[in-house]
């Protein structure tokens, strides 16, 4: 409960700051004439942006998923608030605090490791350091941030060692996350797959599934290097979809960021269908669980079918947002009215 409120406050402050940055950047780009002349309606106005931090906080607090994970006393709330503080610290530009919170989040559940990339990109952008592989200052700053992060991680882990006087906690925390020994059904993709698989294939597929989480970081970092916050959002969503033991609280965390991208609304293609899918799935989860576990008239396939649909819905939602974001950026620089060579209106195709 308290951690949830803390999360919401942190998110509120973070987004408030982020909005200021976005607005400044937008103003700067307009003044520099980087935007095409006819994109006035795409530009975010302060009027629209004023309520976004409040919306983000409310989206987090009133999200049924948050409420449910709060009622279930899930530790996910703690994880969420650490990540929220990490985002706040990053946006405020404090490299040290950001590294410490990132280390805390990693220490807790390992996967936030991938958030290192967006945070680094954001901090670099804030320091006006160009992201070039040849520039010296880029490498210097990267090393600085990475060593801060690693040092705090090592300190935390050593503290746990001194507390427990053994290294047992490493396999039982990180080994448990990585090798997925617990196949209790949840909303993720792992349990059914590994419950059905022959034992001697499982190592290979565990590797494949785990690489899947970390795999998207580098291509996304290259594609979204100008927009680290959007990168952060996509990365959070990817973690919550592909992690080994996902919970509803994870979903709630990235859904809280949806209002930040509300200006993408007109570029979204399937938002209605996708939100219907997600709502229906959320209601069908308990129904099919009941049929499988209590009534005994259905089996695990039914429940897995719904987790599959739920995750596909989430993946499509994220890719929809991703595509919409890219389209908006393209229109901003090239103008809304694209024409082909022959003068007809052109459509953008994602390639």
């Amino acid at each position: 409960m308290i951690t949830d409120v803390l999360t919401a406050v942190a998110l509120y402050l973070a987004i408030q700051d982020f909005n200021k940055v976005v607005f400044k950047k937008q103003k700067l780009l307009i003044e520099l004439d980087k935007y095409a002349p006819d994109v006035a309606e795409l530009i975010q106005t302060p009027m629209e942006m004023h309520y976004i931090p409040l919306k983000v906080a409310l989206f987090y607090l009133l999200n049924p998923y948050t409420v449910m994970s709060c009622v279930a006393k899930s530790t996910c709330a703690i994880n969420n608030s650490v990540i929220a503080f990490f985002i706040l610290a990053t946006i405020k530009g404090s490299a040290f605090l950001s590294a410490v919170f990132l280390a805390l989040a990693t220490y807790q559940s390992l996967y936030p490791l991938t958030l290192f990339a967006p945070a680094l990109l954001y901090l670099l952008q804030r320091q006006f350091i160009p992201i070039k592989l040849k520039s010296k200052s880029f490498w210097f700053y990267t090393m600085q941030y990475a060593s801060l992060y690693l040092c705090s991680l090592v300190v935390i882990i050593c503290l746990s060692f001194f507390l427990l006087n053994s290294w047992d906690f490493i396999p039982s925390v990180y080994g448990f996350i990585l090798s997925v020994p617990d196949l209790t059904p949840n909303i993720g993709l792992f349990w059914y797959f590994f419950a059905e698989m022959f034992e001697h294939f499982s190592l290979f597929f565990v590797c494949v599934f785990q690489i899947n989480v970390f795999f998207y970081t580098i291509p996304l970092a290259i594609k979204l290097k100008e927009h680290p916050m959007f990168f952060m959002f996509v990365q959070l969503a990817i973690i919550s979809i592909f992690k080994s033991y996902p919970t509803l609280g994870d979903v709630a965390l990235y859904m809280a960021f949806l209002p930040v991208w509300s200006h993408l609304y007109r570029f979204l293609r399937n938002i209605f269908i996708l939100s219907c899918v997600l709502i229906f799935c959320s209601f069908l989860f308990p129904v099919l669980w009941h049929l499988w576990i209590y009534a005994g008239s259905a089996n695990s396939n039914f429940y897995y079918a719904i987790t599959l649909t739920f995750n596909i819905g989430q993946i499509l939602l994220i890719s929809d947002y991703f595509y919409a974001f890219l389209r908006r950026e393209y229109y901003l620089t090239h103008g809304l009215h694209l024409t082909r060579q022959d003068g007809t209106e052109a459509m953008l195709v994602l390639k």
Partner: protein, 572 residues
Amino acid sequence: MLPPLAPRTYLSENAMGSTMVGEGSDLGPHALALAREFGGHKRKAGGMPVQWLEQTMFQLGLEVHRQPFARTLPFPDEAHERYLVRGTNVFGVLRAPRSASTEALLLLVPCSEGSKNNQAVGLLLALASYCRGQIYWAKDLIFLVTEHDLVGTQAWLEAYHDVNLTDISSGGLPGRAGAIQAALALELSTDVVTSMDVAVEGLNGQLPNLDLLNLFHSFCQKNGLLCTFQGKLPPPEGPSGPGYTQSLRTLGLMVLGQAGGGPGGAHGLFLRFRIEALTLRGINSFRQHKFDLGALGRTLEGMFRKLNNLLERLHQSYFLYLLPSLSRFVSIGSYAPALALLLLVLALRISWAENGEDGDGDPQPGESLPQTPRGFLYLVPPVLVSGAAGTALYLLPVRGQAVATQHFPVGEAEAVVLTLIGIYVAGMALPHSTHRALSGGGQRGWMSLKLVALLALALLLTCLALLNFSLGFLLGVTLVPPAAAVRPGGNRLPLAVLLVLTTPGVTLFLAVLVERELLEAPAGLGEAWQRYLGALGQGLLQEHLHGAHLSPLLALGAYPCWLLLWNVLFWK
């Protein structure tokens, strides 16, 4: 029923099919003697003769336990005339000689008031004494006599599984047997029977595995017992008009019974604990050919012996089925498409409504759309008010009964039912008050409200189709046509009449009428009204006593949904 749609039933469980058992018992005279003795002691004790039952069971060589329980009902139950229920269950365990106590079978007789079910208790005791002498039991046998019908059964089940689902307070169980694999409930009040009626519908429309029913049916055929389903005789074989109507009536009764969600007998409560169970009722009508308790005892013995052979839980056969007669069944594959088509109507309507609302599925960057404020604030009052009305309908009748009895000259049970109807009808006046609060969204306004209503309805029906097909189907048939048709403006009267006729409350009333009609005992409007009031009270009571889902579903799901449609109709 048409053969391709309703194939013959067959036993799928190998453990019960291939091994034929010979029943050697002749329990008739012994059972009758025990029944008389029990009746005498019951009259003397003015209730369940706990002492005598314990003694008798002990003498038969069972391990005897008793379990006291108490339950205060949320409001007085008029149908059974009870409020503060206090009773004792007695059960005896026959430990299996051939295995450790890991699995068990159960025979249950509810000990009712008067001389009801005396013969059933007699048969239970006689069967226990016979089974005690046999050496082939691999599962424990539990012989349970419960007091106060379903309340006692619920108390026993909760204590046996050590859970507390309802507010029953009961003494813990001192002794247990293994996990119960199957249970039979027996109701029998006469010395001879003409036929056996079998009830399958459990709490919330759950059904036992079809194999258990097949087992019963095959033993009835073997012993020449006449068995009925839903009080209907098996329809004549071959394609014939009367045969079809008979099947259709039986099917209709089963659908209504399942949709009602109440337990069709004491067995209904077992299904929630994943115990396959049936209720068998002895019927004594004016038929010439009568059977004594011996034939019944042989049937029970045979069923238990076959169940004794089970290697795992009953899972081979169907769990989701509808029965037009005992020998034929309609599987889920045949009837589910009907509801799927109904849902398709909703889906199409939703996609139209959505396109009509957004107009531009893929907004072309070239079009400069007039930037309409994308607020949905005008949707909030109707949705909130409908939800609040549903919540009030759910909470107030039981919570507010004390207030109602103080201010009006009615009994508590009446107060509950009348509050229910009052809130229900008052909800229908809401559109006028909600509209005052909002400025109205015009054309787009009602379209989006309808979209919300359709989505909610589709969601409700999808969940119901999985949980309780019959209920989902009945609600679907009644609610989908008005949901698809409703729109404000024009001539509102026909649509308003259609909507009122399909509101869940009226549907329930019509269901009462249809049920009487199907039972071939048509009720006049007055009698139907009385039954309707009784059904409302029982529905509320069952929710509190056993956790039936029907009344919360209707109050929190179907009713707000319908109110939204009602709001659409009166949109200005």
